[in-house]
Symmetry: C2
Subunit: 147 residues, 2 copies
DNA sequence: CATTTTTATGAATATTTATTCATTATGAAT
DNA sequence: ATTCATAATGAATAAATATTCATAAAAATG
């Protein structure tokens, strides 16, 4: 039961391929590890203010990709991140199992300048920064989110 | 059986109130004199590239109100307008019965500077222009469309 | 004008989406 | 920890929408 991550994943799916139906969306999410029923997706679609066109579901009109109704990254970090370590220009983030992918996607979306890119496994995210300094800056920013 | 006018009417309905469902749209159109089945509206909606949001149907994204797939005003004039007369700063346009309203709406949408406003009955449209000169200009422009 | 082709349409139906209802999880307050 | 309230969810179902199929009108063609 994890709404925030799932809804982020929904947006992510839309930004990539096209989604013709809720059943279609369901398959895409399954591949990303979210197993949910159609009813829930119908609700997510309403929550995220998506619209359906002749060519499938689309992100909301004016708003940027990350809709207005999304829980902030900080909330995700607090909930799913267990530990952060830096090594040179790299950060290694441990999450509860299964959450690394979606949390990494959320971090990506935040689009911070200190992040060159991310790779996520099952419970580990590797973040590449331009240099040691910026890695540390980013690390402390994320640590603050942990409360 | 009149697709062009009906589709224009659909856009017009959308620009005014909000439309929650195709059945809803069907009612609005009926009030404007278009009696069609749900299947046809489903197709119109596809043709016009409308999208459905949580708050009802919406005009297509980037495009202006008058979609891209619409037959030009000239086509409507050629098909439905019978006669044009000017009197001072006014134009009186006769159409085949029942078409005055939607043709007037289409003319309105064209948003020509010589048109201050329109009133349409069943088979007659009255167009108000700023002055005699512009009335004549507009009249000849429309006359040209008649072929 | 007769014939063929294309287009538009509605009724019936298939498919998709939203909602209801019951259940389970989550969190707060004591 | 227990109770209470709130939120999330799925299964079943209702409602809405898309499509199929048949038909009729309009347009093109000979």
């Amino acid at each position: 039961m994890n709404k925030s991550l799932r809804q982020r994943a929904v947006l992510d799916v839309l930004k990539h391929g096209s989604v013709a139906s809720q059943e279609d969306l369901q398959r895409h999410l399954r591949r990303r590890g979210f197993k949910v029923g159609q009813a829930t997706l119908s609700r997510d679609i309403r929550d995220l203010n998506l619209s359906k066109t002749a060519h499938g579901y689309a992100l909301p009109q004016g708003e940027n990709g990350a809709g207005v109704a999304l829980p902030p990254v900080s909330r995700l970090v607090r909930e799913f991140v267990l530990d952060i370590r830096s090594a040179q220009n790299l950060l290694v983030i441990k999450t509860i199992v299964g959450s690394a992918q979606p949390v990494a996607a959320a971090l990506d979306e935040a689009d911070w300048p200190e992040m060159v890119g991310t790779i996520a496994g099952d419970d580990t995210i590797l973040i590449v920064c331009p240099d040691k300094d910026q890695a540390r800056t980013l690390a402390s920013r994320i640590e603050e989110m942990l409360g």
